[in-house]
């Protein structure tokens, strides 16, 4: 078997592999639509909600974002509580101090990165 190595630049590689991905996806989609034929069930088109009627959905349910934040807050409870207590003390100066110290820290990292880049 003939082995070929294509050394490209990262942007060209991204374009080439994305193009190949679309081609393979197209082949899969065509094959599946050919195999599936007309076997689409017309019975029971309602949503499956554990046997309930769709009317139950009119009640308020947590949004996706709320579910996501709920999970994050439960898993990262300590970090979340620390941040909340640090930022939300009710004193404006605390919030100002917290935000400026973080932004100052980021600025410091950026300056160090620039210096390292210039020196190296």
């Amino acid at each position: 078997m003939m082995i070929q190595i294509w050394i490209l630049d990262p942007v060209t590689l991204s374009i080439v592999v994305s193009g190949l991905m679309l081609f393979v996806a197209l082949v899969i989609a065509i094959v599946i639509s050919l195999f599936r034929g007309g076997k689409i069930s017309t019975e029971g088109s309602e949503m499956y909600i554990g046997g309930e009627n769709e009317d139950v959905l009119k009640y308020r349910v947590p949004s996706v974002i709320a579910l996501y934040w709920g999970i994050v807050k439960r898993a990262w409870r300590k970090a979340f509580e620390y941040l909340r207590d640090a930022v939300h003390t009710g004193v404006l100066n605390d919030w100002y101090g917290f935000m400026s110290s973080w932004l100052g820290f980021l600025l410091l990292i950026a300056l160090i990165a620039i210096l390292v880049y210039l020196i190296m």
Binding site: M1, M2, I3, Q4, I5, W6, I7, L8, D9, P10, T12, L13, S14, V16, V17, S18, L20, M21, L22, F23, V24, A25, L26, V27, I28, A29, I32, S33, F35, R36, K39, I40, S41, T42, G44, S45, E46, M47, Y48, I49, G50, L57, V61, V64, L67, Y68, I71, V72, R74, A75, W76
Partner: protein
Amino acid sequence: MINEYLYTLFVAIVFPGLFFMIAIALFSEWFYRKVVARMQNRMGPAYTGPMGILQPLADILKLLLVKEVKKQRYSSLILAEVGMAIAIASIIVSVFMLPISPLRFSAPYDIVVLLYLYAVWHFIGLAIAVLAYPNPFVIAGLSRLIALTVVIEPAIFSSILVPAILTSTNCLPIYSILCISTNSWRLWFNSPLTFISMFLALLSIIVATQAKLGLKPFDIPEAEQELIAGHITEYSGSILALYNLLHDIKLAFSALLITYLFLGGPYPYRHLSITGITLLVIKYIAVLYILSLLRASFGRRRIDQGIVMIMKYSLIPSIAALLISIITLII
């Protein structure tokens, strides 16, 4: 020129593209089911083909050719199929960057391109396919999947960075999959520090892969006792066949990725030698065996326990490995 196009077509469709990945994926599912069955004192697949090896293929074909696909009132079958096709294709194309492909695509820093396919496009395809069948259980499952992905992907990225950093001094193209794969086996013997960082990174990527594949103890988005089937509640027929195939292909690719990036694939031997192929197969089977063993040894965790577990056994070890590898590089 035409020959080159034909060769690329062969690589994309036959080896190591669509057909090869489907074959290796079905074998991986059979092996995984056999190991799990053995641990649970069952037979596992036994009747279709020798030792039941054709059972996963029979399952897929039955779903595809015999079973009807249910069209729900709010669903879009075409969108679900397109999403699944994108998710499967993103994994298949990722294989072209591994040295198993006779046509190897490489570039400096191509680990980012690999993650662009394996993490970003795969997830986009899956999310499109899942949201094509709207349902409260599906939304809850997808929400859990997103929460897990937020922790899993950084862990996978930092684990892959470890061999990339350690091989970056003496190999070109820098930070490339090709470079990491061909040199990673040396890192285990270089020095105690490289050994420790490789071991931590390997541990980390195995746990993260287990979670990415949704295997126990991380089958939280599908949690059948709570969410029916979570993000795949409404799937049936051909679309369920595609989902199962996607899962198997992801299993096979993840095992291949660990085999090449952390265990060195067939190296120091060549691919087209008996010793090389034997070594590659042994490493691949060992990775599959560990993933199956973990799957059979744990029960499902709650979502917050699952996230904490991934952070503790995957994200933190991978960051520690990253720091050790940077220290090794400086020393």
